[in-house]
């Protein structure tokens, strides 16, 4: 009996952890760091069309500077990207992906390779053999410096972990450009999407579609992942402008389809009156789509991010409302264009962080754009 009471006690403890967590979360919003949200809210309020910028999760990095489409060194988006820039010398430009398995990374690599063909430089594209290994990325950077690369474009697996490579490049006079996840300090340029802006844009469009009213579920990314947190802050800030919108639940689905499905199933048990679900990426959003289908629930708007093949097809079928074309192909291409322009004429980019694509590049994939997206410019067409 003594043993039994101890057992009950330990379970009560676990239960208490649960209750504490529960009471912390009553407002439905709990995760945003105050500085990040305040800084982010100000520009969002002043600039109606393009909610420009947020501070990156780590301090000291430059904010996003959004340029209009005609200020960029390239035209188009996805597979339609093009540029007038030509390499005036024989340059070697290296690109380091996070892994070789994710089609997103494969497309980015293809974007840099295409840039090499168009502009006339030698593109060396590589990726760590262990997926997402930042240590290997640093080694690859060192090798590229040895090979005499003039510029290195890297999709960092980790902001801090990549720094030894960045320093080595700087000492050797090689410029470093990052896409997506930035290095811990400003480099020559950061491009790729501004995660905050992607979240803001998708959420704002959902709110408009719902007429400013409705209950929303958010499927967060992995706890602690900087890009997922920035995106979440963007989503929450956008909904703040709509008093009729309530975020009824915000739970992690770890960017995974299986978890997106099971978490949505669980939440549908409690929240029967839901109008919208936003997944932190397409995979979790597609899990939500499956859960809604299995439960026979119709009329819920589901949005995600990345414009993957499946998401595009789901939008086409009417299963998904919207996805954000985060265009890895064009991001690789534009990074190369900035590098070549600098190597040619010493022209520095206008800022340290110029996101691409942004809401200025028509990144939204919905019922009115999905057909042309799939037929004409989807980034995944470059890798299939």
């Amino acid at each position: 009996m003594k043993k039994f009471s101890k057992l009950v006690l330990s379970f009560l403890l676990v239960g208490t952890v649960g209750l504490v967590g529960c009471s912390n979360n009553n407002g439905g919003t709990s995760t945003a760091t105050p500085e990040a949200t305040q800084e982010a809210a100000a520009p969002a309020a002043t600039q109606e069309a393009a909610p420009a910028a947020t501070q990156a999760a780590s301090t000291g990095l430059s904010k996003a500077t959004v340029l209009s489409a005609d200020q960029l060194p390239i035209t188009g988006i996805g597979t339609t990207v093009a540029t007038d820039i030509k390499a005036k010398g024989s340059y070697k430009i290296g690109y380091i992906a996070k892994n070789t398995t994710n089609p997103y990374m494969v497309a980015q690599s293809a974007g840099v390779a295409k840039a090499g063909e168009d502009m006339g430089f030698e593109a060396i594209t590589q990726a760590p053999s262990t997926a997402d290994s930042v240590e290997e990325q640093v080694k690859l950077m060192e090798n590229m410096i040895q090979q005499g690369a003039n510029a290195i474009i890297v999709h960092c697996a980790d902001s801090n972990g990549i720094m030894p490579g960045v320093r080595a490049a700087q000492e050797a006079g090689v410029i470093v450009l990052t896409i997506g996840t930035p290095a811990a300090e400003d480099t020559f340029l950061r491009t790729g999407v501004d995660y905050y802006e992607t979240g803001y844009t998708i959420a704002k469009d959902m709110a408009e579609e719902l007429g400013g009213k409705g209950n929303i579920i958010i499927l967060e990314g992995p706890a602690g992942a900087a890009n997922a947190i920035e995106r979440l802050n963007g989503i929450k800030d956008a909904f703040k402008d709509y008093p009729g919108i309530e975020i009824v639940a915000s739970q992690t689905a770890n960017f995974k389809r299986t978890e997106g499905m099971s978490v949505t199933e669980n939440l549908l048990q409690k929240y029967t009156d839901v109008q919208g679900i936003i997944g932190a990426n397409d995979e979790s959003a597609l899990g939500a789509v499956q859960a809604l289908k299995a439960a026979g629930v119709e009329g819920v708007l589901v949005s995600g991010f990345d414009g993957s093949v499946d998401a595009a097809n789901a939008v086409l079928n009417g299963d998904m409302f919207e996805s954000y074309n985060t265009d890895p192909y064009g991001s690789g291409y534009i990074a190369a264009a900035y590098a070549v322009r600098y190597l040619d004429d010493g022209v520095e980019p206008e800022a340290k962080f110029i996101p691409f694509p942004t809401s200025n590049n028509d990144p939204l994939i919905n019922s009115s754009t999905v057909q042309s997206y799939i037929d004409e410019y989807a980034w995944f067409n470059a890798v299939q």
Binding site: L7, C22, T258, Q290, A294, A314
Partner: protein, 317 residues
């Protein structure tokens, strides 16, 4: 009646079953939406895949070895079957091929585990199988499979989800196999004392091999159901289940040293892990704290089991 109580109390599953009951009661008090029929069905449906995977793994654990390749096997077979069906193969034939792949993987794992420590051997095959999955998929995701296949994962028989029926059948078969057949008794005997089993002229290699085949076939079956449920296949989809499967069996009281435990406890273990996530979603525990809670539950459950067992052993001595 007293005998039944005694035997339940002495079984390895006792504490995990109590843990399950306490968790259900606590959850019902905390969240009204927990104690609905629909939510119960949801929990059973979600637990189904984990149940099939971890019941299969229980057979391997009972022989005193380990199979870390369960998640990768499930993902790989799910991908292969999805590819076959996408290339217009008959659903029944594709499913059969999937199960055969499970047999082959089990034979390879079992053979390697006879030479190397199972932990290392299957850690290796886990990488190989996951790598094969990526090759088969070429980095892509397959979406939209025919209803004849997806019905396996999302359909119902009356009010009961197909998945729950499949899981129940698998668990029942494994329960009978392990506790009421010669093979099952040999698995227990070998696990509790490999040396004695060898001297008793038991075909030990064949016993271990059988356990691995059982485990991999279960994984293959679960992988196909996973694909059917998601209506999609991608190479990484088994990742979520890899170590969770081990946790479910161990929480259920199956000893990693072999010879002790069984499917009954594994059912409790799989349900506990599923309910913990369910109740966290329903009560809105912040994402940052969820890993912490799951980890704590696993540690507390295994701790209780280990401590009480040590006490019982010292009492007997």
């Amino acid at each position: 009646m007293k005998n039944l109580w005694q035997s339940i109390k002495e079984s390895r599953a006792f504490y995990s079953l109590i843990g399950l009951v306490v968790l259900v009661i606590a959850s019902s008090i905390i969240a009204p939406s927990f104690r609905t029929v629909n939510n119960m069905i949801t929990i059973f449906r979600q637990a189904s895949l984990l149940l099939i995977l971890s019941s299969g793994l229980t057979a391997v654990l009972l022989t005193g070895t380990m199979d870390l390749s369960v998640g990768a096997t499930a993902g790989f077979v799910g991908c292969v079957v999805a590819q076959l069906i996408k290339h217009d193969m008959n659903v029944a034939v594709a499913t059969l091929i999937g199960l055969l792949i499970g047999v082959v993987i089990g034979l390879i794992n079992g053979t390697l585990a006879g030479i190397l420590p199972g932990f290392i051997a299957t850690y290796g095959t886990n990488w190989v199988i996951a790598g094969l999955g990526i090759v088969v998929m070429q980095g892509a995701v397959i979406y939209d499979l025919p209803p004849a296949f997806t019905q396996l994962g999302v359909g119902y028989l009356g009010a009961i989800p197909n998945l729950v029926i499949f899981a129940s059948v698998v668990v029942l078969i494994l329960y009978i196999l392990l506790s009421n057949t010669t093979l099952g008794r040999k698995i227990y005997q070998y696990g509790s004392n490999p040396v004695a089993a060898k001297y008793a002229a038991m075909p030990t290699r064949r016993v271990v091999l059988s356990a691995f085949v059982i485990c991999s076939v279960c994984a293959a079956f679960a992988g196909m159901l996973m694909t059917a449920r998601l209506n999609a296949a991608d190479a990484a989809m088994g990742d979520t289940y890899g170590l969770q499967t081990v946790a479910a069996a161990v929480i259920g009281g199956t000893s990693q040293k072999g010879g002790e435990g069984g499917v009954l406890g594994t059912i409790a273990g799989a349900l506990i892990l599923t309910i913990v996530v369910n109740i966290m979603n329903l009560t809105g525990i912040p994402s940052q704290a969820q890993g912490l809670v799951i980890g704590s539950v696993i540690i507390i459950m295994v701790l209780i089991d280990t401590i009480t067992r040590k006490r019982q052993e010292s009492k007997m001595n």
